[in-house]
Amino acid sequence: MSDDARLEVRKTHKLFIGGAFPRSESGDTLAVVGRDGSVLAQASKASRKDVRDAVKAAAGAAPGWAERTAYNRGQVLYRIAEILADRRSVFVDAVARTAGDDSLDAEVEVDASIDRWVWYAGWTDKLAMVLGSRNPVAGPYFNVSSPVPVGVVGIVAPQAPSLLGLTSTLAPVLAGGNTAVVVAAAATTLPTIALAEVLATSDVPAGVVNLLTGAQRELQPWLAGHRAVDGLDATGVADADIRAIEVEAADNLKRVHRSTITDWLADDAQSPWMCATFLETRTVWHPAGR
């Protein structure tokens, strides 16, 4: 190091809970080992208590997010794409350094992620048209079925592709009007927490998205077993663990979805049916008469 070289300023990677960036309640950290084998950072190692805090924040934010107009939610999701695009180079760098995330070119992955947020931003006010129905019952009744959010969705994010996998599981959950608690693998800490910083500046209400990093395999049973979590995206759960996770989820009959996507750039890696996974159908009847 030459005399006139200045020291770089390193970032502390913290959790994202309720719109704030706390360290883990445990005080524990986990080394993030990069693609080149070097230690990139210390991830906050979320604990069971952090999962509970995050679920509490998500549950608290759920009614407000669900009550926003679909138009408004669409604009918030679009705003995420705007800020993500603005910080494109940050994400390209983070993805390029993430271990295990080498199946896609980092620039391709980041651009696809930006486009995916835009795609889902456009779905918020169309889901009810595609997934709802006016039912011609055999009697003098008005009868209509509409999609409504399940509430709080837990997401065990895929390990790779880091940013695109996280985006592809999180965006449909938000588009449908749910709030989310994401448990991400420590290796994906850089893009995960960078996304948290985007969310924090994109008009996403506090608590709508909560991102936890750390030992994903330790955390996933707490998320799957939490009774205030209504749905579970288990895409990041390993084959060896899926049975145990689904048993935990059965305790309050969570809606469980586990994506089988292998090509995350493909057309079918985005779908309104991924939103539908975490939507209930509510049917309302009313008599018709003079």
């Binding site: 011609p136 009868n143 689904e246 509510r282």
Partner: protein, 501 residues
């Protein structure tokens, strides 16, 4: 009116509430004949298009819950029989059914719908004999809905590409279906019709206390010339159901029943990749605002909780009344209760029939006792109950706190728990204060309030200014611990197809 003064009384007759002027509602007995039903001594399992003896040779009796009379002996399927049925269903799926053109499947299901209409009186009488529900309901509600469900779904069979455009809908394969005893034939229809229309084959397990109408349906399916193995029926109790759930040869399980059994099935299916839909219990809230049309609301409340003896997963078992109209509404409700006719389900004037089984009667009795013990005020009309069979008086509790068991647990009987509220926000909060989320009702003359409340009720079905309406085009199913998946309509169809994302 009393039992001993009714002239020409041949069925057990009932004395109605004392508040009704004597003679005003005096009906002569109007018994439906059971001659139309030809019971066999014993029934086999329906496997590969034939009625066959169970491997174990074992059977169990099914009785008439209104008289405790023995009706027939029914085969008890074990894991060997279940395997035989699943094997037959797999062979039928791969051998013919999945490749049959949709229009041919459609015609078979249409044919079945018509055959059911043709024999609907026979099926209705059998349903009432085996299950205890009033003949008026099995004749006017269950059977018409059964036929309509098949008729509606028949038309989908050759139009699936229009239901899911661009998504190449395909059948799942072999589906295991387990149904309850409260609407034996209607639940069979809800399960079979969408499964068959979408090209799946089925192994169905009817409930052990009400197998007979499903077995008659199997005969009708046979007569309609369905290919052997497309529909199979295995009778038995919980062990038979468990053997079906655990069979590795199934692509999907569809279950209607209690939440505790549903959770057990979800655990058993965990990690297997089998699809699962669950239609489980409920503790439906029935909200009455002060501006509601009270007499109509009373009829809705009565329909909501006393229809089918309250053996209804979507029953409106919690009444939430806005404080200013509580006393008036409850007075009218009590008066209406006094006019309900409880007794012989085969009498065409009966409103409330027999409790389905002694086990269920014991559960209702236990929960009602807990309501009394916890301090709620109980009202029951002063009606006579027949000596034999299983009966429970229509019951309304007031002074109920949300913490009472009768406000939290599904009773699955003719028992209503009434609570009060002041504001719409409080009504919604109380209505949603349950892990269940199947149904809810709202009574008000204010349209905007209906929509505001309906938007906030965590319930799969919201009946506003009506209750307990069903239709094959209308999706039915719950939020939360009332299960997942829908039955009926386009949403129900989706539960039986594989589609491209």
């Amino acid at each position: 009116m009393t039992t001993d003064t009714a002239p020409g009384d041949i069925a057990p007759r009932l004395r109605h509430g004392l508040s009704v002027p004597s003679g005003l509602l005096d009906y002569a007995p109007a018994p439906e004949s059971s001659a139309i039903v030809h019971l066999r001594d014993s029934y086999g399992l329906f496997i590969n298009g034939e009625f066959v003896a169970p491997a174990s040779g074992r059977g169990f009796a099914t009785i008439n819950p209104a008289t405790e009379a023995h009706l027939a002996e029914v085969a008890e399927a074990d894991a060997t029989d279940v395997d035989r049925a699943v094997t037959a269903a797999r062979a039928a799926f791969e051998g013919s059914w999945r490749d049959l053109p949709g229009r041919e499947r459609a015609k078979l299901i249409f044919r079945l719908a018509r055959a059911i209409q043709e024999r609907s009186r026979e099926l209705a009488v059998l349903e009432t004999l085996d299950g205890g529900k009033p003949i008026r309901e099995s004749r006017d509600i269950d059977l018409p809905l059964v036929a309509a469900h098949f008729f509606h779904h028949a038309g989908w069979a050759d139009k699936l590409n229009h239901a899911f455009p661009g998504r190449n809908p395909q059948p799942l394969g072999v589906v295991g279906q387990i149904i309850p005893w409260n609407f034996p034939l209607l639940m069979a229809a809800w399960k079979l019709a969408p499964a068959l229309a979408t090209g799946n084959t089925v192994v169905l397990k009817p409930a052990e206390t009400t197998p007979l109408s499903a077995l008659l349906l199997a005969e009708i399916i046979q007569e309609c010339d369905f290919p052997p193995g497309v529909v199979n029926m295995v009778t038995g109790a919980g062990a038979t159901g468990a053997a079906l759930v655990e069979h590795p040869g199934l692509d999907k399980i569809a279950f209607t029943g209690s939440t505790s059994v549903g959770k057990g099935i979800a655990r058993a299916v965990a990690g297997t990749g089998k699809r699962l839909t669950l239609e489980l219990g409920g503790k439906g809230a029935h909200i009455v605002f002060e501006d509601a049309a009270l007499d109509q609301a009373v009829e809705g409340i009565v329909d909501g909780i006393f229809f089918n003896q309250g053996h209804v997963c979507c029953a409106g078992s919690r009444l939430l009344v806005q404080e200013p109209v509580h006393d008036e509404l409850m007075a009218r409700l009590r008066r209406r209760l006094d006019t309900l006719r409880v007794g012989d389900p085969m009498d065409k004037n009966t409103d409330v029939g027999a409790i389905n089984s002694r086990e269920q009667l014991d559960r209702i009795t236990d929960l009602v006792q807990s309501g009394v013990d916890e301090g709620a005020a109980m009202y029951q009309p002063a009606c006579d109950l027949p000596g034999n069979g299983f009966w429970f008086r229509p019951t309304v509790f007031t002074d109920v706190a949300q913490s009472f068991r009768i406000a939290r647990e599904e009773i699955f009987g003719p028992v209503l728990s009434a609570l009060t509220f002041r504001t719409a926000e409080e009504a919604v909060e109380k209505a949603n204060n349950t892990p269940y989320g199947l149904s809810a009702g709202v009574w008000t003359e204010k349209g905007s309030r209906i929509l505001w409340v309906a938007d906030r009720l965590e319930a799969g079905v919201v009946w506003s200014n009506t209750f307990n309406q069903f239709d094959p085009t209308s999706p039915f199913g719950g939020f939360g611990e009332s299960g997942f998946g829908r039955e009926g309509g386009w949403h129900g169809l989706h539960a039986y197809v594989k589609v491209a994302q």
